[in-house]
């Protein structure tokens, strides 16, 4: 896990709280069944020492995108980007062991590689899983070297929780796809070179069956990126408008009409990428943490102490749950949908602690510039992004507890006969 150097970091389809960490290499780091355990034996302690030496010797030179690209290229050239990714496409082809050794060291540093997080965590892994050899050759190495920045284009104003209700159309024309529509909640789109775009290519079949995933060149004519101001007063995300954007036929990821399966792959990587970071680190910069609030609250009041204890209990309960998931993962037990429980708990802890923090500090906490003012305004983000709390509860109920499904009214109805948002 590496803490990304970006205040109020956001990624994926939505934002996360500051101090949140995530795996630099997305879910690859935990995918034992595919690339790992190749049998490389080496001195891990030595590997970690060398990584530390390298990181010490290469402090970030700036926090703009150009500096990030340059840093990422150096990181790649030093062998620390894509550690477990297949060597065939530009990864290092090493094992979990090295990945973990590097992560353990890197936790002490703040790497300026935020803009690459969507590519590394979601888009890259999806291409590795589903891309054509040409697509992998074209993109993976450049992605790992920071030459290309990627974003993910799924959510729409009318399709949030219900991603498959999306309305962005891609129509065939002369062997190309012509895309029209709007996406939203897109992180790093303003810097992105490529996007993984989910489109509707057949509205006459039920909604999950008429989708196709495309690789879109974000510099193509007709692509407009507009920052989306959120309730913090800042723009952590973008809206993207597609106006007759032409996409070559060889940019389809997976099969035409199989976009939903491709999206599920991407979202699985997103969720792993989130849950792997949940509660694991970054607490030291969090103004709503128990440690931070214990310093500023009036602990002479026993009721305040009790409130702080509640925060401590919830924080530790979640942190230990995450550690257990991490230990299970290391031991080869895949967390699956249980990661959604961790994400739900973190979302609730985040709103709870921001609320409590303001109560403890009082009106001064709400003055612009106070860390808690920002923390409060950002606190709903995790409960909305990457699946709302309600969606998480559905996932836990359906996939962990195997409860009977909700009756679905939208399963077998052609999309163009379905009730959707306008």
């Amino acid at each position: 896990m590496i803490t990304i150097g970006h205040r109020g970091a956001s990624y994926g389809r939505f934002s996360i709280k500051p101090g949140q960490s995530r795996s630099l290499y997305g879910s690859r780091a935990r995918d034992y069944s595919k690339w790992a355990l190749i049998g490389v034996t080496m001195d891990l302690a030595e590997y970690g020492r060398r990584a530390r030496a390298w990181l010490d010797a290469h402090p970030p030179t700036g926090d703009d995108v150009a500096a990030a690209r340059s840093y990422m290229a150096d990181l790649y050239d030093a062998g620390y980007s894509g550690i477990t990714w297949p060597a065939e496409w530009g990864g290092q082809g090493l094992t979990q062991a090295e990945e973990r050794a590097f992560a353990a060291v890197a936790r002490d540093y703040t790497l300026p590689i935020y803009v690459f997080s969507i590519g590394l965590g979601m888009c890259g892994p999806t291409l590795v899983d589903l891309g054509t050899p040409e697509q992998k050759t074209r993109h993976i190495r450049r992605l790992l070297r920071g030459e290309d920045i990627w974003c993910q284009l799924f959510s729409e104003p009318g399709a949030g929780s219900d991603v498959a209700a999306l309305q962005t159309r891609a129509a065939e024309d002369n062997g190309e796809w012509v895309v029209n529509g709007q996406k939203v909640w897109t992180s790093v789109a303003q810097h992105a070179d490529y996007g993984l775009l989910l489109t509707r290519t057949d509205p006459s079949v039920p909604k999950h069956r008429g989708l196709t995933m495309l690789i879109v060149d974000m510099h193509a004519p007709g692509v407009t990126v507009r920052p989306l101001k959120d309730m913090t007063g800042r723009a952590h995300f973008n809206e993207i408008f597609f106006d007759d954007v032409r996409v070559p036929a060889d940019c389809v990821v997976g099969q035409v009409g199989e976009g939903w399966n491709a999206a599920v792959t991407t979202l699985l990587h997103e969720r792993l990428s989130i849950s792997s970071g949940v509660g694991m680190s970054g607490e030291k910069d969090n103004p709503t943490s128990f440690a931070a609030l214990s310093k500023v609250a009036d602990t002479s009041d026993p009721v305040v102490r009790d409130q702080l204890v509640e925060l401590y209990i919830r924080s530790r309960a979640l942190a230990l749950f995450n550690q257990r998931l991490a230990q299970e993962t290391k031991a080869g037990i895949f967390p699956g949908a249980r990661g959604s429980a961790a994400k739900l708990l973190l979302a609730e802890l985040t709103t709870f602690s921001a609320d409590l923090a303001v109560d403890l500090v009082g009106p001064e906490a709400l003055v612009e510039g106070h860390p808690l003012a920002n923390a409060l305004a950002l606190s709903p983000a995790l409960a909305l992004g990457g699946g709302t709390n309600e969606i998480m509860r559905n996932i836990v109920g359906d996939r962990v507890l195997n409860l009977p499904p909700e009756p679905r009214v939208d399963k077998n109805v052609p999309f163009n006969e379905l009730k959707v948002n306008s």
């Binding site: 939505f14 959510s155 104003p157 009318g158 949030g160 929780s161 219900d162 209700a165 939203v184 909640w185 989306l228 101001k229 959120d230 309730m231 007063g233 009041d301 009721v303 305040v304 409130q307 709103t351 609320d355 303001v358 109560d359 403890l360 009082g362 009106p363 001064e364 906490a365 709400l366 003055v367 612009e368 003012a373 409060l376 305004a377 709903p380 983000a381 409960a383 909305l384 992004g385 709302t388 709390n389 309600e390 509860r393 559905n394 909700e406 679905r408 009214v409 939208d410 109805v413 379905l418 009730k419 959707v420 948002n421």
Partner: protein, 318 residues
């Protein structure tokens, strides 16, 4: 005890609601709007006795108005002037009260140990509660604007250096109690509108082919919010009634209202925002304005635990 609105109060509510329907919380303080509000509707003078040019209404009347100004997130110093007015009723000052009733004077209520003052930038006069306790009218005070998360109305950091002060009298705890009731009334409005907004949205927003309000995950939360609203409304009516008709019961009723309604209001504003999904997180949507007003109001007189410990004391627990 009376927990119902009179016919006159219902008319008042309708008039205020209609007036406020054109107010946008993002427009900031507009003296022209306040001019009409205090002129046509006479809201600034609502609780000011006839002799000072007011309407001589009661706290119950005022709370009807504050529920509506809260629901509309009326920007500007209305609540601030109201809180100052309620303090002035304890130590009446003809000049100030008539000025407020006429809409000429904006005032703000301040406590000696709290430099952040709601409405401090717009205030012509500060009504200051000192530790003595004295109620002091302060003019010519220093101030600088303080931006908070609540963009609909400002605060100021004030300084009394070089200010002109005039002692108005010795206020009772009623100043504080009435402030709690007034803020609870505003919070009730914020709660009501937070619920109304998400109820409306839940009837039109579709997910997975169904209106989201048809999912129990949403419906049951909204039902709980409605339960909170019913209780909050009852507590505010009760507190206002005690202020008018049973002053001995006011301290308990006021702390009770503030302790319950403040929490319920923020919870409702938060849940409303969350249930809106991503759109609720955008700047353009009003959900965050309610969320931020709710939190600002909740801590305005101090955090909830203070109201609760006051309740404990009033109930004789120790």
């Amino acid at each position: 005890m009376n927990l119902l609105l009179s016919a006159e109060q219902q008319d008042l509510r309708a008039a205020v609601r209609s007036f406020l329907s054109n107010v946008n919380p993002r427009d900031g303080y507009d003296p022209a709007v306040y001019g009409r509000m205090n002129g046509e509707l006479g809201l600034a003078g609502l609780v000011i006795p006839d002799e000072y040019g007011g309407a001589g209404g009661g706290i119950s009347d005022l709370s009807v108005v504050l529920v509506e100004t809260g629901a509309a997130l009326l920007p500007g110093p209305f609540l601030a002037t109201t809180l100052a007015t309620l303090a002035l009723l304890e130590c009446p000052d003809k000049e100030l009260l008539s000025g407020i009733a006429e809409g000429r004077i904006n005032a703000a209520l301040a406590w000696e140990d709290r430099p952040l003052v709601l409405g401090g930038m717009e205030a012509d006069v500060l009504i200051l509660v000192t530790g003595e306790p004295s109620l002091v009218a302060v003019e010519g005070f220093g101030r600088e604007p303080v931006e908070t998360i609540d963009i609909t109305r400002g605060m100021a950091r004030v300084s009394l250096d070089g200010a002109t002060t005039r002692v108005l009298g010795r206020p009772s705890d009623r100043v504080h109690d009435l402030a709690m009731v007034a803020i609870a009334a505003e919070q009730l409005g914020v709660l009501r509108e937070s619920l109304a907004a998400i109820v409306s949205y839940a009837k039109v927003r579709v997910a997975f082919g169904r209106f989201i309000g048809s999912y129990q995950g949403v419906k049951h939360k909204l039902a709980d919010m409605h339960c909170a609203l019913e209780q909050a409304e009852s507590l505010v009516r009760h507190a206002a009634w005690t202020a008018d008709a049973a002053p001995d019961e006011l301290p308990l009723a006021a702390a009770l209202a503030q302790a319950y309604v403040g929490r319920a209001c923020f919870q409702a504003a938060k849940d409303s925002l969350l249930l809106h999904g991503g759109i609720g997180f955008t700047w353009e949507h009003d959900a965050h304005l309610y969320f931020k007003r709710a939190k600002s109001d909740e801590v305005l007189l101090g955090p909830p635990r203070l109201h609760r410990s006051r309740l404990a004391a009033l109930l004789g627990l120790s």
